[in-house]
Symmetry: C2
Subunit: 225 residues, 2 copies
């Protein structure tokens, strides 16, 4: 076996979709790291600051694993990430949190939807990529921490629920407009999602699932959709 | 053996110095994480941004180990870190890097001196604290990365050497004034360093060693003291 062979050869079309997804997840991890590190600075005390900083650091462990897999597939991680830079940057510029709770709500909502999307797409992949993606998305420690903080804050001041609900709706709106843009630009990834049905049924099923799980998550912390 | 006993009982005076040092290192790791994460945003490309982000994440691994040891000694990490918050915050506010190279030079200079100081103090501790501190300070990956970037930048534009040398001298000046303040406020840690000789010889030896190693590091990347 030659060293120059990719570790897991896959069909070119499937590999393009895998690279699209891994590039998105790698850049997503890098940005999540950056945002959580910045949000940690808004923490009301050192204990919470350390907790969020540790969660940010874990994103880089995910990044390392995804970048390693891309390199194994002979794809430069930097190139695989490039298509997502503008969309994610625009999203974050449009949704700069003004305090600790807005930051946590943003992370809670955004990671929830991103994880659900990744899980759906992972089911369409073969091992080892399916396992890698499932592995990375299923760490709920950050969501649990954020949910606990949001719930406690709303319990202490019920008026917060309204402000944070409005904030969450704005986040979803901005995320959706960037997602539509990316979907148009990444045909291989889009094709993977819609491949199972040539009409719009697959996309509608995906949106329904993402929306349903988002609504459940919002309700779980006392926010409304 | 009762669960409520500390894992390694040490004499109260020695323990106070250990807690002082571990508190300083824990907060130092948390701040280094935060600063490197912010500096990563100044990176000229995604490869360098990911490299610095990964190094930032490693600081949280150090933080976790030190916080774990403090908890083992029945000390709240937050309380152990508290004495260093103002000094480190003032230092960083006074020395905000304006670009990627200033950020790297700051990390290179600052971590170098901090690591040297920690190594000197570690030699005065008993195991397992000595081993823990030595373990944490001896990861040179970040210094190597920073040194390589600084050298390459000076090779491409030799005028940079002057600007970055002046910047490094300012960093050392600010760090020294904060270090003197902390030394006055943490008698146990200061006593540990000067314990071996009641006159000023120990402090002078420490300063000489730190200065010498700093000068060597500066020269290694083409900067002058």
């Amino acid at each position: 076996v030659s060293e120059s062979e990719p570790a897991d050869p896959v069909a070119p079309a499937a590999q393009a979709a895998v690279v699209d997804l891994l590039g998105m997840l790698a850049y997503g991890a890098l940005v999540a790291f950056d945002r959580m590190a910045a949000d940690a600075r808004l923490a009301p005390d050192l204990r919470r600051r350390a907790a969020l900083s540790e969660m940010a650091a874990r994103e880089m462990t995910s990044y390392r694993r995804i970048a390693g897999r891309l390199t194994e597939l002979r794809v430069d991680p930097e190139q695989a990430m490039a298509p997502y830079v503008t969309a994610l940057q625009t999203y974050h510029e449009q949704t700069e949190p003004s305090d600790w709770l807005e930051g946590l709500t943003k992370a809670y909502v955004g990671e929830g939807v991103a994880d659900d999307f990744s899980s759906v797409v992972a089911e369409l992949l073969d091992a080892p990529d399916r396992d890698l993606v499932m592995d990375i998305v299923h760490d709920s420690r950050h969501a649990d921490f954020a949910a606990q903080e949001i719930r406690a804050a709303i319990a202490a001041d019920p008026r917060l629920a309204n402000r944070l609900s409005m904030w969450a709706r704005r986040l979803v709106g901005e995320a959706l407009s960037q997602a539509i843009r990316v979907a148009g630009e990444r045909p291989a990834l889009t094709a993977l999602v819609v491949a199972r049905s040539p009409d719009q049924a697959a996309v509608q099923a995906l949106l329904k699932r993402l929306t349903g799980e988002h609504t459940t998550r919002m309700a779980a912390v006392g926010l409304n959709n």
